[in-house]
Amino acid sequence: MMTAVAPDQRDLRITALADPESGTNLGPVPGPRRRPAQVALHVLLAAMAVFVLMPVILVISTTLKTPADVRVNPFGLFTSFSFENIVDAWTVGRFSDYVLNSFLLTVPSTAIVVVVSVMAGYAFARLPFRGRTFLFYLVILGLLVPFFTFMIPLYFQLRGMGLLDTLPGAILVLASTGTSFGTFFMRAFFSELPQELEQSARVDGASESQIFLRIMLPLVGSGIGALTVFTFLANWNNFLIPLLYLPSGDFRPLTAGLYMFTSGRSLDIGPLAAGTLITILPIIVLFIVLQRQVTQGFISGAVKG
């Protein structure tokens, strides 16, 4: 009989890969550091860092220009200063609504992904039942099939269910795009916990649900944290789902709002830059504050295959 033992082996690699700070070595250079080489290295890396950051710098620069300066010289770096573009985007450009909608879509869908994935991940890792492996592969199939293979039928399905152009509909679809990965991810974390924990709790008379909620769940906190941040970012950044399934624009989030803004009034570069900044600012803040969890989420996510 085929069991889920074989896939367990690849999960072991996740711990080694998951932590960007982990690993046994700090680099190939032994002994005293070679100073000139290190200086040259820093110059090279700093140049690359400027290239990588240039588009972000450009957004900040154009946002903070006066509208008159934007008309003449939209992309010259930091040639004038005003908050007019931000105010304009926030009020006239409706970006205050878009921010609210982004949260209304992202927070519930992320919560659903995390709760559903933790439950399923535990069952797939530690609670054997008939047909478990088959169901697991059904869920994992979602990782292989690109979303737009079924986005067109899903449109008509949502219309038939009365969920098209509704907040619950878009939230459920957003959540469904994250559960395959979330289940796979949490299953890997639960698989690594030692068998003895479970057995000794059982000897002490704990029920199966107590073992799950009181013993095992508190031990995968780092996994839940990484999954939460990862899913939040993915759902915040998603633009195809709101664009397709929220067509009237009543619940338009930042990404879709930004996209509509470019096609509608493409010459308004100042407010567009401000809107772009409003869209990426929460992401950048979240990323810098929680960069370890973010990197961990993405690295472990890569092991999914």
Binding site: G27, L41, P128, T279, I299
Partner: protein
């Protein structure tokens, strides 16, 4: 481990486990069935009918959509662009990512800051990336043309996204900018797990740095290398967002890929059946490659070659 616990556990425990297991799996199965398996099944059905989005009983056309796909020259053109995207968009981030990761591996201080900066583009929304790079490529005021004029290469300045011969590569450069940080971070964490004693031993034996990279370091990070390769290759078939945002397949179809062509057919021209068939083609092309590379990667890992 699972087998052992199953045979040791008493029947009562096994039954309780199975009961809780089914309860815990239920929500994910409902979500998967409703929002993935059902529409996927519908996609197969749509590919066999001529659906315009309105007719509730679309006529059954058998394999007409598939036949049309193979005779449609636009599909072959789009597929060609997908291939360019896959080759350039896979090789560049892998090579650049490995080089940058090696640099970060060697640097003594500040490595964490560079790692955060290089990874940042990967978490930004595609819409924002597309807008800003559109400005960088702007024919009049764009930073790229300003830069070229400043260094005396003004003759090269052009409308990067408006030139049919250049547009695809301009979008590709943006995708490489956005995606390489991912490879950097993963390669770096793999390098941190390389056995340094082997590297030192080979140095003592007189291996130069290229030989050390090729014979000692690369074999150890091979499984991770294949993993990143799988992800970028599969992503290459299903590329959509960044092209849709930056050029929408234009100018004059120069950047059309299967994803944007399927979208146009379904949502612009209302050929729902045909558009869905095109989207299925992408899945049919990418899944076997993913499975194959995954097998190879797992075999290498099981041989104990590292990671």
């Amino acid at each position: 481990m699972t087998i052992a616990s199953r045979s040791l556990a008493p029947t009562v425990t096994r039954r309780a486990q199975a009961r809780l297991g089914i309860v815990l799996v239920l929500p994910v199965m409902i979500v998967t069935a409703l929002f993935f398996l059902f529409p996927l099944g519908n996609a197969l059905y749509y590919s066999l009918v001529d659906f315009d989005g309105l007719n509730p009983n679309p006529p059954f056309v058998g394999f007409d959509n598939f036949i049309r796909m193979f005779t449609d020259s636009a599909v072959w053109h789009a597929l060609g662009n997908n291939l360019i995207w896959i080759v350039v968009g896979t090789v560049s981030p892998m090579v650049i990512g490995l080089l940058v990761a090696m640099l970060l591996w060697t640097v003594r201080r500040g490595g964490a800051i560079y790692r955060v900066i290089f990874f940042l583009p990967y978490v930004l929304p595609g819409v924002a990336i597309g807008i800003v790079w559109g400005w960088i490529y702007d024919p009049v005021n764009g930073l790229l043309n300003q830069f070229l004029r400043a260094v005396g290469l003004g003759a090269w300045a052009t409308g990067w996204l408006g030139e049919p011969d250049l547009a695809l590569y301009a979008v590709l450069l943006t995708a490489i900018w956005a995606g390489t940080g991912f490879a950097v971070v993963i390669f770096l964490s793999a390098l941190r797990n390389v056995d340094t004693e082997l590297v030192d031993a080979s140095r003592i034996d007189g291996a130069n740095s290229a030989q050390r990279l090729w014979f000692i370091i690369l074999p150890q990070i091979m499984p991770v290398f294949l993993m990143v390769l799988t992800l970028t290759l599969v992503g290459g078939f299903s590329v959509f967002d960044i092209i849709f945002i930056m050029t929408a397949g234009g100018p004059s179809n120069a950047t059309e890929v299967l994803g944007t062509y399927a979208y146009d057919q379904a949502f612009v021209l209302n050929n729902i059946g045909y558009g869905t068939t095109l989207a299925l083609l992408i899945t049919i092309l990418s899944v076997p490659i993913a499975v194959l590379l995954n097998r190879l990667q797992r075999r290498l890992s099981l041989q104990g070659t590292g990671a």
